[in-house]
């Protein structure tokens, strides 16, 4: 019986393989090695790819089979950790969520590091300015008064108020698609505001005023030009521009609702 199962399994996978139309695609990668290159430059790689596979698989193939020096970040490979945000065909996405067939594979697919942060090597950027802005908005629970002896209870409705902004995986796709951030890198950026929003509108948190004051800064929410680049870039589908607008409104009315 066990033999039969194994047999069956082999057959399905074999027929499944035959059903897939593999194709040769060109991946055009922005490469930069600080030890030899004066400036970043484009390099083309040909790889065979399954159109329904992710561009991350092609990057793996290039690194493992063609050029081991290709450097990029990835960890979970399933859109959870947020470490592989890249600019693919001119748009910020997670390489592990971008399917080859959605990227017009008849033309070279361009892969660049996300913009506005210092490139360390190839597709790896220095995320420190991004995390600095994140830390600046105090992304942790601030609660005054006595410590409760049991968990802090919250109604479903109160939880729903900020549900959208809890989904952030800190991939930086939004902040590095923002033209205001590109300008001089001083703007807090959408990701920091999203994570401030997550606590400002949390009924268990008492630090709303403190965070609103931080975002009332010259480089805070008022620099937002409502471009919607961030909302478009977010791999988690967070309504970022709306979250920023809600923080603006809370600052004007001085009420958190």
């Amino acid at each position: 019986m066990s033999t039969a199962t194994v047999q069956e399994h082999v057959e399905t996978s074999a027929s499944g393989k035959a059903g897939i139309e593999m194709m040769t695609i060109t991946v055009r990668i922005r490469r930069y090695n600080p030890e030899v290159d004066a400036a970043p430059h484009w390099v083309d790689y040909q790889v065979t790819a399954d159109p329904t596979a992710r561009i991350l698989d092609s990057l793996h193939k290039i690194k493992w089979e063609q050029d081991g020096s290709l450097t990029f970040r990835r960890s979970c490979a399933h859109g959870v950790c947020g470490s592989d945000a890249m600019r693919i065909n001119g748009k910020n996405r997670l390489a592990c969520k971008a399917l080859v067939k959605d990227l017009n594979p008849t033309k070279p697919i361009t892969v660049e590091p996300i913009q506005g942060l210092p490139v360390l090597k190839d597709l790896v950027v220095d995320m420190e300015p991004f995390f600095q802005a994140y830390r600046d908005v105090k992304p942790f629970l601030i609660a005054h008064g006595n410590e409760p002896t049991r968990e802090r209870i919250q109604s479903q409705k109160d939880r729903d108020r900020f549900d959208d902004t809890t989904k952030c995986i800190l991939c930086a796709a939004c902040t590095t698609s923002c033209p205001v951030f590109w300008a001089d890198g001083q703007y807090f950026g959408p990701a920091a505001i999203v994570n401030a929003h997550r606590f400002i509108f949390d009924s268990r948190d008492d630090g709303a005023n403190e965070r609103l004051e931080i975002l009332n800064d010259r480089e805070g929410v008022w620099r937002c030009r409502t471009t919607f680049n961030c909302t478009e870039a977010c791999p988690r589908g967070i309504q970022i521009t709306q979250a920023i607008a809600e923080v603006k409104r809370a600052l004007i009315t001085r009420r958190v609702i």
Binding site: Y32, P34, E35, A39, P40, E112, P113, I114, Q115, G116, L117, P118, V119, L120, V125, D126, E128, P129, Q132, A133, D136, K138, T176, P179, V180, W182, A183, D184, G185, Q186, E213, I214, N216, D217, R218, G220, W222, R223, R225, K248, L251, I252
Partner: protein, 149 residues
């Protein structure tokens, strides 16, 4: 083999731009004050007002009473005899100039990244704005219909 110790990592998407990290601000070191908040509110309010003022102005100038043909020294003199039109034009001048100047200020903040370039551009901008507003206001209030053009 030599290593480039002083090589500055290029900022992606901004070739040639000097790299600048977010200036570090400890808690409590944020810029206080509501200037940017009021500036943002002003842009929304003045924008809505200007839609009515400017469209109304264009309608009066271009459509009513025989269109542009009627505009001349006498027509302007006649309008400015009334405080209502003086007020209308004054509002248009001030709101449009402050709205436009503030918009240009944000553009300069977005596109000029050196402090010196910013200061120079803003200096020029504010000088031009103040001169235009002062001259316009002066003309609206001291207009003398008896000088014949």
């Amino acid at each position: 083999m030599s290593t480039h110790v002083s090589l500055e990592p290029p900022r992606t998407g901004n070739p040639g731009r000097s790299q600048r990290y977010r200036s570090r601000k400890g808690p409590g070191k944020v810029t206080r004050g509501n200037f940017e908040l009021y500036s943002w509110l002003f842009m929304r309010a003045s924008g809505v007002l200007l839609v009515f003022l400017v469209l109304g102005h264009l309608f009066i100038m271009m459509v009513t009473d025989g269109g542009v043909e009627k505009i001349g020294f006498a027509f302007v003199a006649g309008r400015w005899a009334s405080p209502w039109w003086q007020f209308w034009d004054l509002m248009q001048l001030w709101l449009a100039m402050i709205h436009g100047t503030n918009g240009m200020r944000t553009v300069i903040n977005d596109y000029a990244d050196k402090d010196r370039t910013r200061a120079i551009l803003k200096g020029l901008l504010y000088t031009a704005a103040v001169l235009t507003v002062a001259l316009g206001t002066l003309v609206i209030f001291t207009f003398d219909p008896s000088i014949k053009g």
